[in-house]
């Protein structure tokens, strides 16, 4: 099914998608270090090279005005993919286009089309007020004075920058600094925005503000956003579509619902009975845990064998129920299952 949807997306005309990645492969060659003096000498003269495939045959596309979350455990190949899309890295094989430009062939043209924020790394000048950094970037990107003013006003409205943008960057809080970094990345009005864990380490309020800005950028400005994050709340709030990547390969490309269906373990029903009850469990259900009058029941077989409302009906008909509660697996559980599943599919 995932295979299908990927193929389906690939067959779309390229003009519709802002980011297009086809059969991307990136292999790094690193020198292997052997222990001891002999090993060190050998590493100096004739280093033993070993190659590591960071991205292995990855294909996906992001439509214009779409927000896509690129998910995966640490070291899955997300950052390598992003570096190819920003033009820093040339792929070993395969190809990528961003807004019609091949980033690693025309790095500078691509740079005008993208804005990027890399988590805790700031591109602002540490000892200058944030607004000075904006001015420097305005000149580097050649933004017209009128546009610059209008955009600064807009960012100020959305991110409340004016209370601290005359403060030197070293004195900003993390939340304030990342907000300034977002403004800096969007200053030249790029159609495509790449964000690598933008809200890492931020407090709830600041996170919400950043998410609000991203939603605004996608919905009102029609920007294309590629986001990596480990924050599942963020994924739930922002992304309709996710690409799950592990060991350099795509595990899933689809909607959040699709991911839940594939990796979610379905529902569980927690029941408290009026008293101990040894009657067998209703058909289609199985007792997962039993602790006196308390039971946890789940479906037998596949997750969709019995719909939840049916299960509830059967339980109430069978037992004397005092309390009943349905639990559906949350996104973190789904992700955990997905990462584990992917590990089993392709052992490292």
């Amino acid at each position: 099914m995932t295979q299908m949807s990927t193929l389906d997306r690939l067959s779309r005309p390229a003009s519709e998608s802002a980011i297009e990645v086809r059969r991307l492969v990136k292999t790094f060659r690193t020198a292997r270090r052997s222990p001891g003096v002999r090993g060190a000498l050998r590493a100096l003269i004739a280093p033993e090279l070993e190659s590591k495939t960071a991205v292995d045959d990855v294909s996906f596309s992001v439509a214009t005005g779409e927000l896509l979350a690129l998910l995966g455990p640490n070291g899955a190949g997300k950052s390598t993919t992003i570096k190819v899309l920003t033009g820093i890295l040339t792929p070993t094989s395969g190809q990528a286009t961003v807004a019609g430009v091949v980033p690693y062939r025309e790095r500078e043209r691509n740079a005008r089309n993208i804005g990027a924020v890399f988590g805790q790394r700031t591109q602002l000048w540490w000892d200058l007020p944030a607004r000075e950094s904006f001015r420097i970037l305005r000149d580097i990107y050649g933004v017209a004075p009128g546009d610059y003013k209008a955009r600064m006003r807009e960012f100020d409205e959305l991110l409340e920058l004016c209370s601290f943008w005359d403060t030197r960057v070293r004195h900003l809080s993390l939340g304030q600094r990342v907000r300034c970094d977002l403004a800096a990345a969007l200053l030249h009005d790029p159609p495509v925005v790449v964000l690598d864990e933008p809200t890492i380490g931020m407090d709830v309020v600041a996170k919400e503000q950043v998410r609000e800005l991203l939603r605004h950028q996608v919905e009102r400005r029609g920007r294309t956003v590629l986001l990596t994050t480990h924050d599942m709340t963020e994924v739930e709030r922002l992304a309709e579509r996710v690409v799950l990547i592990n060991h350099g390969r795509i595990v899933l490309d689809g909607t959040l619902t699709e991911m839940r269906e594939r990796f979610g373990r379905g529902w569980r029903v927690h029941v408290t009975l009026t008293g101990p009850d040894e009657r067998p469990c209703p058909p289609g259900l199985t007792v997962l845990e039993r602790d006196g009058a308390r039971l946890v029941l789940g479906p037998t077989g596949g997750a969709d064998a019995v719909p939840t409302h049916q299960a509830l009906k059967r339980i109430i008909e069978r037992y004397e129920v005092m309390d009943i509660r349905v639990e559906e697996s949350d996104l973190e559980d789904v992700m955990r299952a997905a990462y584990r599943d992917a590990r089993q599919e392709s052992p490292a």
């Binding site: 640490n74 570096k83 820093i88 043209r109 890399f118 591109q123 001015r135 420097i136 050649g142």
Partner: protein, 270 residues
């Protein structure tokens, strides 16, 4: 592109000056250190010449003038890129170097604007210090118009050599991730062999032969020797040719290293 390059370069080049302007305490401290250092150096050289009139072909006045000029040229250059987290090694360690390669301005041109801005800022300090010292009679003007012109020409080329040597040390950071020993060694060699600590004339013959084969003396010893009249004007064409040779060689080498450096950016950090 070229039209855009001018304003973007201007603002980028001004970063150092603007940063310093925003921290007046740092500027005052830098001025204070420079003044104290000049005073100490002047006292030291006068004291050394207490029992001597001419040493290594330099009179007391020539030696003092040389030492003061060397301090004026070298000291303001050590402005505070470090605490502003804006040295190349810090950008590499913090991973922020990646942004240099994400902008429509090529990293090497951004570097040039930044470094040239630094040098101009340092020279502004040097010029101000020079005028004060000249007015106070601490140093002498050049002995002739010819010496002044020879100084100007060799100093300009010397600044180009300085730029490339500093660039080279910064480029080394792309290969020595762990710490900055290589940079320290380069800085140090630069100061010793350029004649910043003492005019190379005072050193033994083998040392002068060594430094003649290296680019460092082109940055300070050569222009200052013309300024104080220790090098005759007849030496000018030869020295200019040598400086030009170093500029071309270093330009080619650093250009080549930039292309390799871009490939190193990806190796660090996730």
């Amino acid at each position: 592109m070229t039209i855009l390059a001018v304003p973007s370069g201007w603002r980028t080049g001004a970063i150092t000056a603007v940063t310093e302007w925003h921290s007046p305490s740092r500027m005052t401290a830098a001025g204070l250190r420079l003044a104290v250092h000049l005073f100490l150096v002047v006292c030291l050289w006068h004291a050394l010449y207490a029992g001597t009139t001419v040493s290594a072909g330099l009179t007391e006045a020539q030696a003092v003038t040389y030492a003061v000029l060397a301090v004026l040229i070298v000291r303001p250059r050590a402005n505070d890129r470090y605490s502003a987290r804006d040295t190349v090694i810090q950008h590499i360690n913090f991973g922020t170097i990646v942004y240099w390669f994400l902008r429509p301005l090529p990293a090497r041109r951004y570097y040039f604007f930044r470094a040239a801005g630094d040098q101009v800022y340092g020279l502004a300090w040097a010029l101000a210090g020079y005028l004060v010292c000249l007015a106070a009679g601490v140093l002498d003007p050049p002995p002739s118009a010819g010496a002044a012109l020879a100084f100007a020409a060799t100093f300009a080329l010397g600044q180009a050599v300085t730029y490339y040597l500093l660039l080279l040390t910064d480029q080394l950071c792309f290969w020595t991730i762990k710490n900055s020993s290589a940079v320290d060694i380069m800085m140090f060699t630069q100061n010793l062999l350029s004649g910043a600590y003492a005019a190379l004339w005072f050193f033994p013959g083998w040392f002068q032969a060594l430094s003649a084969a290296l680019p460092f003396q082109a940055t300070i010893n050569v222009p200052l020797s013309f300024y104080v009249g220790r090098l005759p004007l007849s030496e000018l064409p030869g020295q200019l040719a040598l400086q030009g040779f170093w500029v071309l060689l270093l330009a080619a080498l650093t250009r080549f290293l930039w292309t390799r450096a871009a490939g190193r950016v990806v190796a660090q950090g996730g």
